[in-house]
Symmetry: C2
Subunit: 325 residues, 2 copies
């Protein structure tokens, strides 16, 4: 009564835990998962591609990182609304040759992420393919009326970001250049391989009700800020000097390395971008549980994005972040 | 402020409708969708791969069929629990060359499925790839405690299936052989290209509370019945003569065409398989809204699958349905 796909599903379910967590009425092994939403809460639903060749490289990215990151980046969309990721569906398509050691290492990274993020496997779909194809759906929850959308920014609001921008992009550049073993422990490489969605900060922002809009930075500040502004029908002025940029050790500095470019256009940081009414701005701390928070500019009525450079020189802030097309 | 991916998302949202349907607090265009589950209902969550080369062929399957079927087959998993599909996330990865006419035709087929199934777009993810990659997540709802699982079959229960089995597989064989135009209107080809998930029957079975277990037939009876039996810890005896088989016009009969094989192992029918206590069996009609329902055998304590052939000869019913591995 056993088939290849069924064996694979059992392996996944076994590695990722089969105990039924809160809110899950039925998990892996039936036609679908059954969730029992709590009264007074809404369900946040999001999905994310994670494809070999586009989002990661089989020979550069350790399988543990692929497992961690496919869940972390989908969970980041839940953080971006202020919610809690609770359950996920794993859609995994693999070459048959990778269903042994590679899959074990992938699942160990994914299992670590499920524990870290408090997000449990509820189901999924597996099949065979030439390349590694991953799609993760995360179902989260948030108290009714608390979700922070992209569309609420008003002229005059101040713009905040968490963390330092461009770190993950620099990590990727180092990873592409060298052997993994040499770079694995550098913070930028770690941030690229094992990003931490800003769940605690997102929850805090939503609970306090102090942000007018919020989103996560997955494709780069220049591209994502343009999306937030488009959704809100506003523009923005950003001061280049105030953007928290990746810090590069002197020994690693190269002439061609432009940290402002990295911070503006580098993807995969999974930091939070949010806007706050000026009267509420003093409630935003300079750091939240060790994570720095910076005010980088303000929302404008005029629907353009402006970057203020050295000496007050203004230029258009053009979206040059990640775009697959 | 525009990027390629954003334009694609706008096109999808425009074609599939942007009005906010019931239960959806926030749809396309933010980090995630927000669902507002109704009190007393549970959320059914399922996802399904639909990949070029594995599940459909670019030169054989019209784009409208790809659009229809990617949603219909995921919705079938919701029908299999007795629920109502309400919202879906579309994860779509395409070669750039297909973002014009192919995408338009794909979206028109998908839009038709959303109207037919009452299932609205709530979000998704788009990216670029060499092959067409699709993953659909469907969120459905069902009154608390009403979902019909795979795991409730008991020895003595009678086994029912809807429709005729093997039709979609025969349709695929014809499609592979000939030019699409010549075959498009044959019922078997239509069933393969535009399957109808059995939502009304699934809902009826769940509401009446008459089934001990239920699932949909996506990979073939021999494989799916083995899964239902494994989940329930039971076996089954199936009478070959009682399986409702695809009907082949005399002009199309070939010596090598074995309709019993097609009915046992052909995939993609999306009919329902369910089991009923003998005392309840008289409540199952011979047809439900024009769809025939057949009793094909019974559940046994002994955990084997047995096929009873001509003259009462018994043989093992081996799972020979679709398995990607």
């Amino acid at each position: 009564m056993k088939t290849g796909e069924d064996q694979l599903v059992r392996k996944i379910a076994k590695t990722l835990g089969t105990k039924r967590p809160g809110g899950l009425a039925l998990g892996v092994g039936d036609d679908a998962a059954l969730l029992a939403p709590r009264a007074g809460f809404q369900t946040i639903l999001t999905c994310d591609w994670f494809l070999e060749g586009s989002h990661f490289l089989r020979d550069k990215h350790p399988p543990e990182s692929v497992g961690w990151k496919c869940l972390a980046r989908a969970a980041s969309d839940v953080a971006a609304m202020g919610g809690d990721p609770k359950h996920f569906l794993l859609s995994l398509a693999l070459p048959r040759t990778l269903t042994g050691r590679w899959l074990d290492r992938f699942l160990s990274g994914l299992a670590r992420a499920t524990r870290r993020l408090g997000c449990q496997l509820a189901g999924g779909d597996t099949t065979k393919s030439d390349k590694i194809l991953i799609n993760v759906t995360v179902a989260g929850e948030i108290r009714k009326g608390r979700a922070v959308l992209r569309s609420g920014s008003k002229p005059g609001d101040l713009i905040f970001v968490s963390g330092r921008l461009g770190e993950a992009e620099l990590g990727l550049q180092w990873l592409r250049q060298g052997r993994i073993a040499r770079h694995r422990n550098r913070p930028c490489v770690k941030k690229h391989l094992y990003p931490e969605p800003r769940l605690a900060l997102g929850r805090w922002v939503a609970e306090k009700g102090i942000a007018t809009a919020m989103m996560d930075l997955s494709d780069g500040l220049s591209t994502d800020l343009a999306r937030l502004c488009a959704a809100s029908g506003v523009g923005a002025r950003v001061e280049a000097d105030r953007i928290p940029k990746v810090q590069v050790p002197i020994s690693k500095r190269r002439n061609h390395l432009n940290v402002t470019e990295l911070a503006l256009n580098g993807g995969d940081d999974y930091e939070l971008l949010f806007t706050v009414r000026p009267s509420q701005a003093r409630r935003i701390p300079r750091a939240f549980r060790g994570l720095i928070i910076s005010c980088i500019g303000e929302i404008t009525r005029k629907q353009r994005l402006v970057l203020i450079g050295a000496g007050g020189r203004e230029e258009a802030l053009v979206p040059r972040g990640w775009d697959p097309f």
